[in-house]
Symmetry: C2
Subunit: 293 residues, 2 copies
């Protein structure tokens, strides 16, 4: 089974098991709308790829971890889109959750997704409960305070923030949790996998800032020009487009170099290259740098 199909299957089963019989029907629908159709599922793909590279011997646990990472990501998107934050009408090419189901169900769907993320890992814990406990701490650190994505979002409510701190928390933390949780699910030490997640997370954020300026909303599935409109810290507004493209390239190179020596090293490096191409195609990178020269 293709890896995105596997992730979608695990997510589907999780929603079927927990959000159907007995649930308030509109909440169940809002939760499903938050998770399907998916985006690139890059975080859970990374998580599973690292687990496989570490000779994954507990696939139930690594799959639960990957699904949990994606649910936490979906929860953050739903809450970020709320009227009090970005007031975004579109997400992944469809109406955002609060537009489709109202603000109350968007708040609750996000809450339910956070809970479900931890629940899935706890349910898969029996065969390797110590690994699961370590993994749950890693997930919590990627999402909560002081350095997770919730903290990252909260930096938008402060009068001053360093761009690196903001983006490291808002995006990097969950990427780092994804690579580290993948290793932990397979019983491998997590620390050697932190750099891959952090570099990719930052690369992803820089790419997002670039795409916010150069994309059209149909291709992106969400509005463009949001960073500027919302006065958010952004690589492009701080450093300009060309420096941002160079920074992106540097982060991708560092991510590739950081992959620890293991059986799946080559496959992981190939995944990073592919993802970089999807985010900011090499042709666009070259054009932007050439035009500026």
């Amino acid at each position: 089974m293709d890896i995105v199909a596997l992730i979608d299957h695990v997510l589907q089963r999780a929603l079927d098991d927990h959000c159907q019989a007995g649930s308030p029907p509109r909440l169940a629908a809002a939760i499903r709308h938050s998770v399907f159709p998916g985006g690139a599922r890059i975080r859970p793909r990374l998580c599973l790829a690292v687990a496989m590279a570490c000779d994954d011997d507990q696939p139930a646990l690594s799959q639960a971890a990957a699904a949990a990472i994606e649910l936490l990501h979906c929860a953050s998107l739903v809450h970020d889109d709320l009227p009090c934050f970005d007031d975004a009408p579109l997400r992944r090419g469809q109406a955002s959750v609060h537009v489709a189901y109202g603000e109350r169900l968007a708040v609750l769907a996000g809450d339910a997704l956070i809970v479900l993320a931890f629940q899935l890992v706890a349910e898969a814990a029996e065969a390797a409960p110590l690994r699961a406990a370590t993994l749950l701490r890693t997930l919590a650190q990627g999402v909560g305070v002081p350095f997770g994505i919730v903290a990252g979002q909260a930096w938008e409510c402060e009068p001053q923030v360093a761009l690196r701190d903001y983006q490291r928390a808002k995006t990097g933390a969950l990427f780092a949790a994804a690579t580290m949780a993948g290793a932990e699910a397979a019983g491998a030490p997590a620390e050697p996998w932190r750099a891959l997640g952090e570099c990719l997370g930052e690369a992803y954020q820089v790419a997002d800032d670039i795409r916010d300026v150069v994309s059209d909303p149909a291709a992106l599935g969400k509005p463009v020009g949001q960073d500027q409109a919302l006065g958010r810290p952004s690589w492009v507004s701080d450093w300009g487009l060309v420096a941002s493209v160079k920074r992106f390239q540097e982060l991708v190179d560092r991510a590739i170099a950081s992959v620890p020596d293991c059986r799946g090293q080559g496959a992981l490096q190939a995944l990073v290259r592919l993802e970089a191409e999807r985010l900011v195609p090499q042709s666009l990178r070259s054009n932007l740098v050439r035009e500026a020269a």
Copy 2:
């Protein structure tokens, strides 16, 4: 140490460890405002009382469970108070979180509290990881879909709901999680403790409905008349005041009778009686029933 002081100490330490150095300062303040000053801390008290009654041999785990239960409760209050739900100006005698810190930080504080709840238990897992995994599942069931407090809140967004289903999810679920998690932390079977939590949860909800009609806001620390103002399902509006008082008494009696045979049985039954007196004093119960006769 008095049990409420112990709970506050554990909560304080959790916030000091996780919400200080490195956190966005306003988020850290909003989180603290969500947790202190506390209410009656009845759910964590119940959790610890059950653990003690089951010969608690892992106090670090039972204390983490109790703190987690309270943090999940606080998170639900912060989100329930949001403008899109109850738009409540007051909570526990002070400005509600969104009034004091704005809507965005109220959403994020609630999210952070949910994450922190699971994190605390995962951090206390090492000495008894299998117990911790079971306990995490119990917590998730008390909060998430289909039957936890998030689902309970979501029933308010449905055109039709049975009062019992609504209240069982909105209040009963977390009370049941509190008693069951207390047993699980101590390595005891959880199921015999479910009835105590469910009866108390329902009694608490009926008491809340009664107090919404007969109290003054200063004594309650929050506005009264909210159920009617918001058109929410309520025992009193469905059944009248006298039937509600009788129902309360019946639930308290059932809770007391449900306490399993164990060393701490008498102490737990005394706690239930005390709590019932605090919720709806016996004198008020007698007066209301006498006046109606």
